[in-house]
C-alpha cells in the first residue's frame, strides 16, 4: 500500500513545489542576481543570511530547475517535523537535510554535521544558513557557527557561494503573520574556498565578509 502511494506523494510534492515558487514570484517578484558566478550545475554550498522562514524558499525558487533538483536545504528537524504538513513540505517538497539544533539531546539524529556531510558525499548541493538562527538584530549577520568551516575542511573542492537574500526582513519581520508584497532579490557572490593553512576564525570571518559585501544599500531618507 505504502509503495503504491509513493509516486503519488512525489507528484504532489512536485506540484506543491511549483505552487510555492509561483506564489513567491507573484508576491515578491523574486529574481536572481548572479553577480559573482554563473548558475552552473556544479556541486555547491549556497550559504545565506537568515532573517525569516521565507529565506530558504526564495533561494530555492530562483535556482534554475536543473540546479533545484540537485540542491538540498539544511534545516532544523525540530521545526520541520512538528506537524504532518511541515513534515511533507520540508523533507519531501524541498528535500531538506534535517539536522537537530539541540546537540545536548539524546543522539537520536546523531551529530548534526553527519547528515550534512553525508548529503555532500552523495553529490548534492546545499543551502545553508551558517548563522544557525534567524537574525533579529540590527547587525547584518550573526557570528557564523563552525559548520561552514567543517564543510570547507571536509570538501575543499566544493564551491561555497555567498548568497544574500535582500529585503526579506521587510516582507515578513519576526512576529508578523501577513507577508508584504515587496520586491526581493537573491544575490549570488563569488565562491569562497578554504585557503591553505587558514584557521577556523579567519576563514569564517572572510566568508562572512564576502556575504555582507553583497548587501544592497538601505533606502533611508
Amino acid at each position: 500500500m505504502k509503495r503504491l502511494f509513493r509516486p503519488l506523494r512525489r507528484l504532489a510534492a512536485n506540484l506543491v513545489g511549483h505552487g510555492i515558487a509561483l506564489f513567491a514570484r507573484f508576491i515578491t517578484a523574486v529574481r536572481a542576481d548572479w553577480r559573482g558566478t554563473d548558475p552552473a550545475p556544479r556541486q555547491r554550498v549556497y550559504y545565506a543570511n537568515h532573517v525569516s522562514n521565507a529565506d530558504m524558499p526564495m533561494i530555492w525558487t530562483v535556482l534554475p530547475p536543473n540546479l533545484r533538483r540537485q540542491v538540498r536545504p539544511v534545516a532544523a528537524a525540530d521545526y520541520w517535523l512538528k506537524t504532518p504538513l511541515r513534515a511533507f513540505i520540508g523533507p519531501e517538497v524541498f528535500n531538506c537535510v534535517l539536522v537537530d539544533r539541540r546537540p545536548d539531546k539524546d543522539a537520536a539524529t546523531g551529530d548534526p554535521l553527519e547528515n550534512i556531510l553525508a548529503a555532500l558525499g552523495e553529490g548534492s548541493s546545499l543551502i545553508l544558513f551558517p548563522e544557525g538562527n534567524r537574525n533579529m538584530t540590527e547587525d547584518p549577520l550573526l557570528p557564523f557557527k563552525a559548520g561552514l568551516f567543517n564543510i570547507a575542511h571536509a570538501y575543499p573542492e566544493v564551491d561555497l557561494v555567498p548568497t544574500w537574500v535582500a529585503n526579506l526582513t521587510e516582507v515578513m519581520p519576526k512576529g508578523e503573520v501577513i507577508p508584504l508584497p515587496l520586491m526581493t532579490t537573491v544575490i549570488f557572490g563569488e565562491p569562497v574556498h578554504l585557503r591553505q593553512g587558514e584557521d577556523k576564525d579567519a576563514f569564517l570571518s572572510r566568508a562572512a565578509a564576502a556575504l555582507v559585501a553583497l548587501k544592497p544599500e538601505d533606502h533611508a531618507p
Partner: protein
C-alpha cells in the same frame, strides 16, 4: 457587434499594423547590421517592441471584456506599481500593518468603489480616509523614528500608484450627453494612446533636435522634445477624436493637456529615482524597466484628464 466593440477592434488592428511595421523594420535592421543578435541598439529596440506587443494585446483584451477587464488590468498594474514604489521607501516594523492595509485593503477597495461607480467615495477615499487612517495605525505601534518621512512616503505611493492609476478605469463612470456610457472604454484607449505617443515623439524629437535640457543633470528630456511630443500628441488626439465626446478641437486640447501633464510627471519620477539611487524601478517589463517606468506619464495624466473631462464635458 456593438459600435463600441467594432471601434475597439478597429483600433486594435490599426495598432497591430503599426507594430507589425515596426517589427519588420527591426528585423530588417537586424538582418542588415546585427545578424548574430549582437547589435545592442537593435536588440534593445526589439525587446521594447516585444513588450509593446504584449501590452497592446493585454489592453485590447481588457477593453473588449469591458468594465471588469479594465478594472482587473489596472488593479494589477496598481499592485505592481505600488510594490515597486514601496520597495524603495523607508519603513520600519511599526509600518507593517499599515503597508499590509495599503496593499490588501485600500487598493482593492479603491477599484471596487470605481466598479460600483460610487464617485463621491472613490475621489476622496485615499486622499481623505486612507490619509488619516494609515498614520494612526503606524502611530499606535509607538515608533517615532523618522515617522513623518515614513507616513509621507507611504501616502505618496498610494496616491500615485493607486489613486492616480485608478482614474484611468474611472473614466468609464463619466457620463456625457449624446455619448453612450459603454463608450467609456474608448476614452481610456484615447488617453493611453495620446500619452504614449506623446512620450514616443518626445523621445524621438529629443534625440533628433533636442538642445535645451529642461533639468540638466537629472533627465535627458529637452524643451524641444517636449514641445514636439505634446504637439504630436495633439495631432494624434485630433485623429482619434471620433473615440471621444469632445469634438476635434476639444480632443486636441485634452490630448495636449494629458500629454503635457505626463511629460512633467516623468520629470518628477526622474527626481524620485535619483533620490532613491535607482535607474529603473524593476525588471518586470523587458526593455522598459518596471511598471512605474512605463506608467509614470499616464499616472500624472489620468487625474488631470478625468477632472478636465468632468469639468468641461460631463453632463
Amino acid at each position: 457587434m456593438t459600435a463600441t466593440t467594432s471601434d475597439i477592434l478597429l483600433l486594435f488592428f490599426g495598432t497591430c499594423g503599426l507594430l507589425l511595421l515596426l517589427t519588420l523594420f527591426g528585423e530588417f535592421m537586424r538582418a542588415r547590421y546585427g545578424p548574430g543578435g549582437d547589435n545592442p541598439v537593435i536588440e534593445t529596440y526589439m525587446t521594447r517592441i516585444h513588450s509593446w506587443w504584449a501590452m497592446v494585446l493585454l489592453v485590447s483584451l481588457a477593453l473588449l471584456i469591458g468594465k471588469i477587464g479594465v478594472l482587473v488590468l489596472f488593479g494589477f498594474a496598481s499592485f505592481a506599481a505600488l510594490r515597486e514604489f514601496l520597495t524603495l521607501t523607508y519603513k520600519r516594523q511599526a509600518d507593517h500593518m499599515t503597508l499590509a492595509l495599503a496593499f490588501y485593503v485600500v487598493l482593492p477597495l479603491q477599484y471596487l468603489f470605481i466598479g460600483l461607480g460610487w464617485q463621491g467615495l472613490y475621489t476622496v477615499f485615499i486622499p481623505v480616509y486612507a490619509f488619516l487612517l494609515l498614520p494612526i495605525v503606524s502611530a499606535l505601534r509607538g515608533d517615532a523614528d523618522r515617522f513623518l518621512a515614513r507616513v509621507a512616503e507611504t501616502q505618496w505611493g498610494l496616491m500615485i500608484a493607486v489613486y492616480c492609476a485608478s482614474h484611468v478605469p474611472a473614466l468609464m463612470q463619466l457620463q456625457f450627453e449624446g455619448y453612450p456610457i459603454d463608450r467609456g472604454v474608448l476614452l481610456i484607449a484615447f488617453l493611453v494612446m495620446v500619452v504614449q505617443f506623446g512620450d514616443l515623439f518626445d523621445f524621438f524629437f529629443g534625440r533628433r533636435i533636442g538642445r535645451t535640457r529642461i533639468i540638466p543633470g537629472l533627465s535627458p528630456k529637452t524643451w524641444e522634445g517636449m514641445i514636439c511630443g505634446t504637439a504630436c500628441a495633439m495631432l494624434v488626439g485630433a485623429g482619434l477624436a471620433w473615440l471621444t465626446p469632445f469634438g476635434v478641437a476639444g480632443a486636441m486640447l485634452m490630448a495636449g493637456a494629458a500629454s503635457l501633464s505626463g511629460h512633467f510627471g516623468a520629470l518628477v519620477f526622474a527626481a524620485i529615482k535619483r533620490d532613491k539611487g535607482v535607474k529603473d524601478w524593476s525588471h518586470l517589463i523587458p526593455g522598459q524597466g518596471g511598471f512605474l517606468n512605463q506608467l509614470d506619464s499616464v499616472l500624472f495624466a489620468a487625474p488631470v484628464f478625468y477632472h478636465l473631462s468632468h469639468l468641461f464635458w460631463a453632463g
